[in-house]
């Protein structure tokens, strides 16, 4: 029973992180229909930027955090401006291949700078954050992850519901042409959604880095694990990303705990194939219906 509860808690926390990572991904897809294979690398970039700021530049934690957010925001903006903008209206394969190429570029670049070694952040989370109720033990990192995740989910919920930029972004996602004709600055919306998505990715990179340590390979592989999550949740649903993340996280930890640890990494993809066969648009995704 203890083992079960521990797995449950681990699964939920990891699932929350997957959800958080998937959120940025969904945001890009929703506004510009770009499937971003470089998401894991953007996430790793955030983690390493924070590392450099905190350990090398010796900035205080909160300042380092804010600068990382700003840096990731700028990165997303620049990626959209330089690489994605020329491809608006191009064939799908070019857009996909471009993000695959970007992923290879970023990964190679980061490996050149930092190598494949494992780094860790200095311990800065307060000890009191952890939960310790008898059999239920939650390390502080997981609590922090859930708090940060919920906070951002709430903020994004409010942003999309009430702010004018958020409403523009939703309108572009809904119908690009109609939004354009009603005076929405579509290109700005694209740039903004890339920037915000990169920022969210940066945050999840930091949180993942606190939990598992920071290596280029580990963090960028999270970018691929996002795919089962978003397919399960529905490619264009932000809430679905969180729920998909939770389900995939639980599935992963329970498989790792009860069946075999080596199966753990592949079970999300097996689930992915089944979801695609049975319910391709996910739990909350918008079904595209085509008839001949």
């Amino acid at each position: 029973m203890d083992f079960f509860i521990q797995l449950l808690i681990n699964g939920i926390s990891i699932g929350f992180l997957y959800g958080l990572s998937a959120m940025g991904f969904v945001m890009i897809f929703k506004s510009s229909s770009v499937l971003n294979f470089a998401h894991g690398e953007i996430l790793a970039f955030g983690a390493f930027l924070f590392l450099a700021l905190v350990t090398w530049a010796q900035l205080p934690i909160w300042l380092g955090f804010l600068v990382t957010l700003a840096g990731s925001f700028v990165l997303g903006f620049v990626i959209e401006r330089i690489f994605l903008r020329p491809l608006i209206g191009e064939l799908l394969i070019y857009v996909i291949m471009l993000t695959v190429g970007l992923a290879a570029m970023f990964k190679g670049g980061m490996l050149l700078v930092w190598g494949g070694n494992l780094y860790t952040y200095p311990d800065f989370l307060p000890e009191g954050l952890g939960i310790n109720w008898g059999i239920v033990q939650v390390p502080p990192v997981y609590v922090a992850a859930v708090i940060i995740g919920s906070l951002f989910l709430l903020m994004f919920g409010l942003f999309f519901k009430f702010s004018s930029q958020g409403i523009y972004m939703r309108s572009v996602a809904d119908n690009q042409t109609a939004a354009l004709s009603l005076g929405v600055h579509v290109r700005r919306v694209f740039a903004l959604s890339w920037a915000i998505a990169a920022m969210v990715a940066g945050i999840s990179g930091i949180v993942l880095g606190i939990i598992n340590g920071i290596t280029v390979h580990e963090l960028s592989s999270v970018g691929l694990k996002v795919f089962p999550v978003v397919i399960l949740g529905g490619l264009d649903s932000i809430g679905g990303a969180i729920i998909g993340g939770l389900i995939i996280g639980l599935l992963e930890t329970f498989t790792g705990g009860y069946l075999s640890p080596s199966l753990r990494d592949v079970v999300p993809y097996i689930a992915l194939v089944f979801i695609l066969l049975v319910k391709p648009y996910g739990l909350f995704g918008l079904a595209e219906i085509e008839r001949v």
């Binding site: 394969i93 970007l102 290879a104 970023f106 190679g108 050149l112 190598g115 080596s262 993809y269 194939v273």
Partner: protein, 356 residues
Amino acid sequence: MKTLRFRPCGNFKVQYREELTVFDTDFGRLWSAVGIVVLFAVVPWIATPYLLYVVNLIGISAIAALGLNILVGYTGLISLGHGAFFGVGAYSAGILAVTYGIPFLAVVPLAGLVTAVVGMVFGIPSGRLKGLYLTIATLAGQFIIEYVLVHWESVTGGTMGITLPAPSIFGVAIAGDLSFFYVIYATAVVMVFGAVNLMRTRYGRAFVAIRDNDRAAEGMGIPIFRYKLLSFAVSSFYAGVAGALWGYYMISITAEPFTLGLSVEYIAMIVIGGLGSIPGAIFGTVFITLLNEGLRWATDTIMNMGGLAGVELTMAPLREFVFGLAIVLFILFEPRGLAEVWRIVRSSFKLWPFSY
């Protein structure tokens, strides 16, 4: 009597048959014949052993890339699992040769057929899915195949891998780069011939119709699911044959090389070479393989000069970076790839001095 055609200076075709010819001019026919003769008679004798090794690798990758181009470039189904299919080919060759003792000549096509079946299994999602969703399904296929190759130990030998026996054709042993050169390029020529002609048949034209507009294709009576599966099968067959040759050439195989990175490499080959173009797949393979070897040479040289003492310059990250850069630059500046560059160069010679 048929007159020789050299250089059409306009479109004078009056029949559909003429549209379908492989060679527009007898000049082209002549040059390809000369090319094949030079390839087989001259190249292996002037190449150094290392160069011959690179040439052989190019031949193997070209077969696999050709297969991927049939799927991605002609049918428009983006697959991120080609590296894994290549691995399936290598492994099934190993299993057929070692466990069942089947001779080389039968193993290579059989490995292709096994891979074709595996490819069709992972192509089943294409019945309901297209575009992005199908790409993600093939990504999942890549990871699942990778897992099976490592963990199905009773069949694949796990991390130990498989060691293939030395192949022989009718009692003639094939060993060394030179004899492999002939085997690989003979296969490659047959495969290219097959691909060129496949695209002239109703099947190839149905693939193109599906790529251009799948709903219209279905409306015209093409059963698109069946053709998509067929495209997966053909493409995987190419990957399987290439994988089997690779397995024999490398002698011992493990699951290590068949990662997502390899799949991306194949996609890079066809994007850089030119989607939906058979010469493109070959150009792209040559480009990527030479880029690979060039980078290896450059890092070695720099390391030997000791110019960057203390800096750990490793090959893999640099390679990955340059790869990514090449893909990005080609997509941004020449999305139709090297095949288009080649066409432009050729036509500027052809039209000189009146290039308008």
